[in-house]
Assembly symmetry: C2
Homo-oligomer: 252 residues x 2
């Protein structure tokens, strides 16, 4: 993890110091908004231990969260108690945008690994958006990207294609030191991965094993070395997931 959450838990947010701030604010606020942005935030950035939930589906949506460190999943639970992961949120990602227009969170959210988030009251964010078209544009842009990503994964693709696309997506989004060999350290379990990709846990395992036998990847538990990213990209091409690195620059 790029940001050690063991120190400074419950620290007052200071976006100037936060390694995730670049991603949080990218395309979302002008230079001037920086200080105001920090001031908006709740005074503490709570730490959530693994498994702890931020909020439950149906709960009144009071806050919007920005992930500072760790990994947060959003999910819903069907009547049989089965969990369905809707998405994984990494440092710099926003959680709760889909509740901006409604009173309640449409899904639950919980920490996949120990995580830290910054919170901003939903009403304050709406107000801020009204005052800053640039911020509104930026946040809408993020929401659009999340939507596009969700739609891409919702397609009817084979297990191999979905997993290849997932690995590449996580590789894009998890920050890893440049120059370092592409070694993913996935925060989530096989079960959570399968839940997100609509695959049985066993199928996830089998596909990963198959990809390893083909020499495309190398498995070391949750660490995955992408040996032939190109081959994965070929496999994942039909999914049509565009890299989120291609951020919208600040210019309108």
């Amino acid at each position: 993890m790029a940001f050690d959450i063991s120190h400074g838990s419950r620290a007052k947010p200071n976006c100037g110091m936060c390694p995730a701030a670049v991603a949080c604010l990218s395309g979302s606020a002008s230079q001037d908004d920086g200080p105001r942005w920090s001031d908006m935030m709740e005074p503490h950035s709570p730490v959530f231990p693994e498994g702890k939930s931020l909020f439950m589906a149906g709960e009144p949506a009071t806050m919007v969260y920005f992930v500072r460190a760790g990994c947060i999943k959003t999910f819903s639970v069907d009547e049989d108690g089965n969990e369905r992961v809707r998405g994984f949120h990494l440092p710099g990602d926003v959680i709760g945008m889909d509740a901006l227009g409604s009173r309640c969170y449409p899904s639950s959210a919980g920490a996949v690994v120990p995580s830290q988030v910054c919170a901003i009251p939903r009403a304050r964010l709406l107000e801020l958006m009204s005052n800053s078209p640039l911020l509104m544009r930026g946040l809408l842009s993020r929401a659009s990207q999340d939507l596009a990503s969700a739609l891409a994964f919702s397609g009817d693709y084979s297990a191999d294609q979905r997993i290849a696309a997932f690995l590449l997506d996580m590789n894009d989004r998890l920050d890893h030191r440049p120059g370092e060999t592409q070694c993913l350290r996935l925060p989530m379990s096989r079960r959570e991965m399968g839940s997100f990709l609509r695959l049985a846990t066993e199928t996830v395992c089998r596909v990963l094993t198959r990809l390893e036998q083909q020499g495309s990847i190398e498995l070391k538990n949750k660490a995955i070395h992408l040996k032939h990213a190109e081959r994965l990209a070929d496999l994942a091409a039909p999914v049509g997931l565009v890299s989120r690195m291609g951020e919208l620059p600040l210019a309108a």
Copy 2:
């Protein structure tokens, strides 16, 4: 169809006269916004014959559309030329909200049956949203609902469950005179239905036939009579699709 598009094609939008206006503006604008709203619109409401496309994926997003009559599908085309329907949009629905934050439309849009839409320049809408928090709230609310619906259908459910949920959703959204027996007239082909639900055309047919044999529905080509909506609802329950009739009232 509740609104005969054979007359008044290319008519100047007049939301006071339009049967879809209630849905368009529901929760989206205050009383005062009504006239301003009409003025925003492009001077003509173009008619799109079946198959005609409104815009293509990747095209610069200049307009946001409101469906006035007919049925518009949004879709993407993969590298093999296969069409994947992302959603069906009925009178009162918005198209292009997912492009508000980006420069280009993420998917293509085309008429499923002869259809009429009202267009509003994207920039004008963004401007209007900045000036009217209520409008912003309303439109975000719609976007949230669309997202929730898309997520519900993206779940890993059986063909029967997805089709039952789809029929009930269409029944909710297609306006039919109250008191009339619940007789759906689906605008889309089996192929389009399957494309949306991630099912082969043949599977759609088989499931519909099965539902008919069970006495749940009655098929007359594209007209479908829901004989036992309850049974369908039981089947579709796990999909967790909430009726869109439960609109957010105007009150904050």
